[in-house]
């Protein structure tokens, strides 16, 4: 675990909830590129800055509604960005980009009753948030998690491949779980909606 990164993120989330311009500024410095990149993928380069601006203005005005106990600030911002981006596309009569990943909705929702376009946007949001969380992990833990989650290797296979004790592999995965889950928690709960 990258303890320093996690500590900084926790401090920012607690600070953000108490309000103030400086907290929003720090949040922008921390998550501005994530939000902007997400917007760029969904609405395209021409509208990305405008939507990202709207996201942070909304976040600024909605600061008291962010609850760190419900999940990460990045997920909260992406939940707002998701709605803003879809609104923008609808206003323009455009469809969200098709997501070819075959993503399965993590929350267990039935894809066949969900707007397919919204699912595509949700899939991109989830993957970018998970990627953000992976970046927060310490190198060893990240390597183990990627082998377990992305390559679907067993703990034993990872231990054998990395020459790490099996207990260390399991420990790294277990300690990483809260970080990864927290990254996705707010967006998948539907919070962040205005």
């Amino acid at each position: 675990m990258n303890e320093a990164a996690t500590s900084d993120r926790n401090a920012l989330e607690q600070c953000f909830a108490t309000g103030g311009e400086q907290a929003v500024r720090v949040a922008y410095e921390r998550y501005g590129s994530l939000v902007y990149s997400f917007c760029r993928r969904i609405v395209g380069p021409d509208d990305a800055a405008e939507v990202a601006q709207d996201v942070f203005v909304s976040a600024w005005r909605s600061q008291p509604t962010y609850d760190p106990d419900r999940g990460g600030l990045g997920g909260w911002l992406i939940a707002i960005a998701r709605n803003k981006a879809i609104d923008q596309l609808r206003r323009q009569g455009r469809r969200p980009p098709q997501d070819a990943s075959g993503h399965e909705k993590i929350s267990g929702g039935r894809a066949d009753v969900v707007d397919a376009s919204a699912v595509d946007v949700d899939a991109i949001a989830d993957r970018m948030l998970l990627a953000e969380a992976l970046d927060e992990l310490a190198p060893r833990a990240r390597r183990v998690v990627e082998m377990a989650f992305m390559q679907d290797l067993s703990h034993e296979q990872i231990a054998a491949s990395t020459h790490m004790p099996l207990g260390t592999v399991k420990s790294d995965i277990r300690r990483s779980l809260p970080v990864l889950r927290r990254a996705l928690a707010v967006r998948q709960s539907g919070a962040g909606d205005e």
């Binding site: 709207d54 998970l130 989650f149 399991k170 420990s171």
Partner: protein
Amino acid sequence: MSDELNAAEETQVQQLKSVARHITDEDFQRDQPPPGLWAQIAAAAQRPAASDTPAHRGVRRRGWIVGVAAAVVAAVIAGVVVSSRHDDRLVASAALSNEGLSPLGATSTGRAEILRRGASQVLRLDVRNVPRQPDSYVEVWMIDRQVKGMVSLGPFHGDGDYAIPSGIDPASFPIVDLSIEPADGVPTHSGVSIVRGVTGP
């Protein structure tokens, strides 16, 4: 603490795997926001909520503006009643009537004048029988002929002069409109117009 995962954690792992196995390099890529975006955010956030940029204005309201709200171009400027001066020059004027509009303004009539005052311009309003509704206020608008772009001059404070924002050409927004707006913080036109007129020379 045991390193073995419990059932709940195993479920979390499976859920995370369903996302993780589709991650691509693109999901890690980050584009930097354009320079100046923070300044725009800070400026926008510290203006009244009604001053959000045009594309952000809501579409939930219904009425005559349905279908065009998405394209609304609006800069909402707090209404400023400006004192009259003798060097005003009449640019355009219009009679304001309730014809075809909300029955709430059935008896409302008035007159609008566009006046040039030095380098600036003002909208002079003289409106009779302005209805007052609980939890609402009357807002002054200038609207283009396509009814797609509009400029709010702010709440109606009574007869007098309302500053037209610099950069706004009244000829491009010739429709003067007063609407009843619920005090709900939604910046879009409510669709409940009480008087309207098209200014001209």
